[in-house]
């Protein structure tokens, strides 16, 4: 076990993937000498060469489009999108090509591509650098959408994503890049939790709190604070946003009878809506209160001096938890 930052966990995971399979490639803007703006690919070009760690022209559609071509040729590209807000120029290639090629070909074509996207706010950035577009990809059949929340999961989930034969949209909680956790870099993937499974991060009995990515830490803090007040929150890190691990979720809600889901993306038509609708349908007679959602407002991401008001925090989460008890 080593203590690594989340960024380093990804770096080590990518290194393993590059070592284990010569078909794995890294591509994106500034991923070479610079090592990416968050240093996730630090040192990889030096060690694996420019043919495998590719600094690309400044064009996201080009990154995903050529990655598709490389995958058709048998490669397994891992594309870095520099920031969440810059995935949109690649949206067409992702939604109409990447997601659909297997289906279009009746299973004759596989596109084992990972699109890494640092997402979310909380770093005091300018516009377009704090978006949470996961619901857009989750609504697109044919993609897998995952989000890691700590260094250990980052290390295993990135490797699992690279080995997946499905395209994976891999969200990285950018404000947690420098958070440290123990990582077993020597351990293999054999015993690891599959990347399409949710994880009960903290067990609890009174209410189920669903979260992913950057808000897992916030949720854990909320659970700790609530415990001090005598309320037992079960925190589930969803990890996989599409498909959703409904088994783990509904088992918890059937037990607790209450559910809050939180994400940074706007609540309106966000992923929390799907979770609330699905949980309600599957746990209708177990629910003591409606599933409540704590997320972004129906506004563009605000200037960073206001982001603390926009982002769900411990207080807003506990406020919603309280409301499920007062329903």
């Amino acid at each position: 076990m080593t203590k690594l930052t989340l960024s380093r966990g990804l770096n080590e995971g990518l290194r393993k993937a590059l070592e284990n399979d010569p078909k794995v490639l890294i591509m994106g803007e500034d991923v070479g000498k610079l090592g990416g703006v968050f240093r996730v690919t630090d040192g990889l070009q030096k060690d694996f060469g420019e043919a495998r760690v590719i600094d690309t022209p400044l064009a996201e559609s080009g990154i995903v489009g050529t990655a598709i071509g490389l995958a058709l040729r048998g490669y397994r590209p891992v594309c870095e999108i520099q920031f969440d807000g810059f995935v949109f120029p690649a949206f067409d290639q992702i939604v109409s090509q990447l997601a659909k090629m297997r289906y279009r070909s009746r299973g004759q074509v596989s596109l084992p591509i990972v699109i890494r996207i640092p997402f979310g706010g909380g770093i005091g950035a300018v516009e377009h650098h704090s978006e949470s577009p996961e619901a857009l990809f989750a609504h697109t059949p044919g993609l897998r959408v995952v989000a890691c929340s700590d260094a250990a999961d980052a290390f295993t989930m990135i490797q699992q994503s690279v080995s997946s034969d499905d395209p994976v949209i891999f969200f990285e909680p950018k404000r947690r890049y420098w958070d440290k956790a123990e990582v077993d870099t020597a351990g293999g993937l054999a015993g690891a939790l599959p990347f399409d499974r949710a994880r009960v991060a903290v067990e609890g009995t009174d209410v189920t709190l669903l979260c992913y990515g950057p808000l897992v830490r916030t949720a854990l803090e909320a659970a700790a604070a609530a415990r001090a007040d005598g309320r037992s929150i079960e925190v589930i890190d969803l990890r996989s946003l599409s498909p959703l691990d409904t088994g783990t979720i509904t088992a918890s809600v059937r037990k607790t009878g209450r559910c809050v889901v939180t994400h940074e993306a706007p609540v309106y038509a966000g992923l929390g809506a799907e979770i609330a609708a699905r949980v309600t349908e599957q746990c209708f007679y177990h629910l003591e209160a409606p599933v409540l959602r704590v997320g972004g407002f129906s506004i563009p991401y605000p200037p960073s001096r206001l982001e603390d008001h926009y982002l769900p925090d411990l207080d807003r989460i506990l406020d919603a938890v309280d409301r499920t008890f007062g329903w």
Partner: protein, 388 residues
């Protein structure tokens, strides 16, 4: 160019007779009259038998096309995108490829598909709505049809980068097809950025058929398209797209250059869409009949026929034989289309992911149960396994 206040300059060219005179500098080996003129940069390495084979290809793909249009009229196909007029561009370039070269087509490359050994019936599957494209791309070295304009140019460039990484540059190259309209898309221009930067072994084959549905060339560019490449740092050239020999020679040379590490080439095949954009289109709304008449004089098949007949290189029995084969192929395609079964309903749940997800499995099961709630087993099998 001065402009009337309030009127966009585009208006000035809007009612022009589309310029149908191929430019000076257009590469041509066989004139519309069937005269073999040759070109110093493109010595022809084809025997008479080869040219007869090309003629056969041209006639056969036109027949398949005619048949498909008829099938659409009869309600057997949802839609069809005709290649009428573009046979030479497609057969010439398609026959210039080596077996290991990879092809990325649009939705209109039926002639190239033919050269790659794709059964035309497979193409019909797509236009009938039975599949989105069901062949194995690697088996034929022919990717699936791409409908989103321009998207495949990036796939081709990436594939060519893969060839480089495999260390196979001297034996394989890639060709990607697209139209005149496609040159306006961001993706195509990004491919023009990437290919020279990585020196990727890819040939961009643009069939300039003068129209993007109802929009003439002038809505996409005010200079000839082949000139676009130079500004991105790679060569572009314009070939008579109705001259199968020139298309063959130019493509062969460009593919060879790609294989030799000389990077990409843009080929603009100057041709004409003689039919409607698709069977749902009505070109009388936007173009003059006279234009079509003029292009009929440059028909890509007639000139080969004239060349072969005039020189006595082929006799009436040859032409009759080809005609008979065309008829037979047409009949086979028609029959296969008419008897093509719909896929079983539950097949729609297949091949979304490498392994179906739990949610999808559940949706499939629920829908199967729902179907069974109405249908007795006599109403036919609901999934592919049962259908076999």
């Amino acid at each position: 160019m001065t402009v009337e206040p309030g009127i966009a300059p585009a208006a000035a060219t809007a009612n022009r007779e589309p310029s149908s005179q191929p430019e000076e500098g257009l590469i041509q080996l066989l004139t519309p009259e069937g005269e073999l003129i040759g070109h110093p940069d493109y010595p022809l390495d084809l025997t008479t038998d080869d040219i007869k084979d090309l003629y056969r290809d041209l006639v056969l793909v036109r027949r398949i096309d005619t048949e498909a249009i008829a099938l659409q009229r009869q309600g057997e196909l949802g839609i069809w995108a005709s290649l009428l007029g573009q046979e030479a561009a497609q057969i010439g370039s398609g026959r210039a490829l080596a077996p290991d070269d990879m092809v990325f087509p649009t939705y209109r490359e039926h002639g190239v598909a033919w050269c790659r050994g794709i059964d035309p019936v497979k193409l019909l599957e797509l236009y009938r709505g039975v599949s989105h494209g069901g062949w194995a791309p690697e088996e034929h070295k022919f990717s699936l049809y791409t409908i989103v304009i321009g998207a495949q140019t990036l796939h081709a460039t990436g594939y060519a980068m893969g060839i480089q990484r495999d260390g196979r540059e001297t034996s394989e190259a890639v060709i990607v097809y697209f139209g005149d309209g496609a040159t306006s898309q961001g993706d195509v221009n990004e491919a023009f950025v990437w290919a020279p930067v990585f020196n990727a072994p890819v040939v961009f084959f643009c069939q300039n058929n003068q129209w993007a549905i109802s929009e003439p060339m002038e809505k996409q560019s005010r200079v000839p398209l082949y000139q676009r490449a130079r500004g991105f740092g790679f060569p572009g050239l314009r070939v008579d797209g109705n001259d199968v020999l020139a298309c063959y020679a130019v493509t062969k040379k460009a593919m060879q250059a790609a294989r030799e590490g000389q990077g990409p080439t843009l080929i603009e095949a100057y041709t004409y869409r003689m039919g409607a954009h698709t069977t749902t289109d009505d070109p009388t709304r936007y173009r003059l009949a006279s234009e079509l008449e003029m292009w009929k004089l440059r028909d890509p098949i007639e000139r080969v026929r004239a060349y072969l007949a005039r020189g006595g290189l082929a006799g009436p029995e040859f032409f009759a034989e080809v005609e008979a084969e065309a008829k037979q192929t047409g009949a086979r395609v028609r029959e296969a289309c008419r008897t093509m079964a719909d896929p079983p309903p539950l097949a729609m749940f297949d091949h979304v992911h490498a392994e179906p997800t739990a949610i999808l499995r559940q949706e499939r099961e629920q829908y199967a149960a729902y179907l069974e709630s109405f249908e007795g087993p006599e109403n036919g099998p609901a999934n592919e396994e049962a259908a076999r």
